[in-house]
Amino acid sequence: MKHQLDFEKPIIELQGKLDDLRKHPETHSMGVNFEEEIKLIEAKIEETRRQIFSNLTPWQRVQLARHPKRPYTLDYLRTAFTDFEELHGDRLFAEDRAIVGGFAKLGDQRVVVLGTQKGRDTKENILRNFGSAHPEGYRKALRLMRLADKFGLPIITLIDTAGAYPGIGAEERHIAEAIAVNLREMTLLDVPIIATVIGEGGSGGALGIGVADRVLIMENAYYSVISPEGCAAILWKERSAASKAAQALKITAKDLLHLKLVDEIVTEPLGGAHNDLTAAAATLKQHLLKHLGELQALPAAERLKQRYAKFRAHGHFLERAPTPGEQAETARKSARKSAAKSAAAIPATAA
């Protein structure tokens, strides 16, 4: 019961009642049949769960994405993949355990898998730096991706990080460059790449292994340019406005799909992936295999073209003066007078 989120409480309470009933039938043994009551409670749990999880706020999804029991990369490597053989090191400076990678099989396909990895307890979290990679992690990732490219192995990346590590050593060894080079190099790798945000998609640290032919996101994961807390601190001047920021930034799977920033949502079992790892892993595997099949059917040149076009298309802008309507909102007072002028200016600027 230790790891519960606020909105999970009603479910946990019901679960507790249910357990009590089951554990101590003798305390209730007045000759009454409790089978019926157990069934009732079970139904109620199911109903409550459905109600809660179909109405999650963006901030609640962020909390789910950070749930301490949420499956991490290595959990999916044990379940959705087989024969994982970890490979270490960037060949330059150090082994960064915040990013794991190596050979694995997805179904009967040989693939190279990479993913950011958080720790399950304090000791492991120190080892894995809470899932925040140093430059060495991104350079190891690139080394393994180049290896995959050389031997024609598809690349699967699993993303779950609050962000790249903001530390002195990371700066001294140029973490910005490590990420930037990955963005450039991943554009031109011949093999299929599929990236899936399985938990937290924290900004550049996530994107550093996120340039892919397909970008998937799990139902309760989020992907954002800045952490909701960071955004709240800057724009609202208080970190407690994080829930407002989470709302404004449009970071949930549903929002991102709607904005065409991700290709597909991987649905999670009711109650979140941590509630049923086997089911979550099976769904993930199914999605990965489907996309891998589609990508392998394409010639490499076509894949690269589509990969470029996909990222090329991200962005919204106007190539003309603001319309009178927009002006009315921004510069209310001068709106009426300038409407005629800006209308006249549009053909001139289009030329």
Partner: protein, 332 residues
């Protein structure tokens, strides 16, 4: 983000550049024929009222012969001389920040710069409302800076070289990278690749533009992707880092130049110093994240003072673009 100027006036927003510039917002400098003149018709249509108050405030607040105190050596510098000196203190060589247009003017040959996508502006795609809405932020920055967004792109001649040139301006929303910055740079890179031109991008930025959410993050991937194809065509890309240069821009196009140069004293990094201090609880080493620190750690090619920039860029382009045809000789 507001670097309080040494002589703050009640009306001028306290960005260093705005104070030092004598040009009032909304007035085109006639001495800049090399640039596409800003679209005055649109501009006046859009900020008619502010422009009027702008000229009034100039009369009232700016005293005759404005002097600026150098924050480093505390010398009083006559504004006119400071401008003539490309906003570099002639006593201690402190580099003040400089606007994108002034910088382009200092680099390209007269009348050679053809600006691209000068009309492109940001839209509030997420309907972002925080303490202030993105729409209001944009409106006030258009007004304040007389810029359309945080980058100006185009093709111009630098010495004998035609090159794609992208120059960022910190005064527009902290040089933040949103869809417009990404799109303008990508179009510049694509056009340069198509026309076999080298690219020079002079960046200064606080990072990605939060108001555009994930769209701003994706500009990192987008610009790097375009540069990948430019690099594959074996064309030179020189990245120039100027003060300050952080986060999303540093973790994308600014860090993948064939050559990476920096202006003296510029603060450059991935995470901001405060974030690092808060996270690590460690004291930052002296000179941390300065251009000099980056040079000592092997992260950049050279530090180039602003006044030498043009000559050095020409030199590098000379060296990289004159084809020696080694391969033909070898195979012949």
């Amino acid at each position: 983000m507001n670097l309080a100027g040494p002589m703050p006036t009640p009306y001028i927003p306290a960005m260093a550049t705005t104070i030092f510039t004598k040009k009032p917002p909304g007035v085109t400098d006639p001495t800049e024929p090399a640039l596409n003149s800003p679209p005055t018709e649109l501009q006046t249509a859009f900020v008619k009222k502010p422009k009027l108050t702008g000229s009034k405030k100039k009369k009232r607040d700016i005293p005759e012969g404005l002097w600026t105190k150098c924050p480093k050596c505390e010398t009083m510098l006559f504004d006119k001389e400071l401008d003539a000196n490309l906003k570099v203190c002639d006593k201690c060589a402190h580099h003040f920040s400089i606007g994108a247009r002034e910088r382009i003017h200092s680099l390209v040959e007269t009348c050679s710069f053809e600006e691209m996508d000068a009309q492109m502006i940001s839209v509030d795609v997420l309907g972002f409302t925080g303490a202030a809405s993105y729409k209001d932020k944009l409106a006030s920055n258009w007004k304040k800076t007389n810029l359309k967004d945080a980058v100006i792109t185009g093709i111009g001649k630098i010495g004998p070289h035609r090159a794609g040139l992208g120059v960022m301006d910190f005064s527009f929303l902290g040089g933040s990278m949103g869809s417009v910055v990404g799109e303008k740079l990508v179009r510049l890179i694509e056009r340069s690749t198509e026309k076999n031109l080298p690219i020079i991008i002079i960046s200064t930025s606080g990072g990605a533009r939060m108001y555009e959410g994930m769209f701003s993050l994706m500009q990192m991937a987008k610009t790097c992707a375009a540069l990948a194809y430019h690099a594959r065509a074996r064309l030179p890309y020189i990245s120039v880092l100027t003060n300050p240069d952080y986060a999303g821009v540093m973790a994308s196009y600014a860090s993948v130049g064939d050559l990476i140069l920096a202006e003296p004293g510029a603060f450059i990094g991935f995470a901001g110093p405060r974030v690092i201090k808060d996270t690590t609880q460690a004291d930052l080493p002296p000179g941390f994240q300065t251009a000099e620190f980056l040079l000592d750690h092997g992260l950049i090619d050279a530090i180039v003072p602003r006044k030498e920039m043009k000559a050095r860029l020409i030199g590098y382009l000379d060296f990289l673009t004159v084809r020696q045809n080694n391969s033909a000789a070898a195979t012949a």
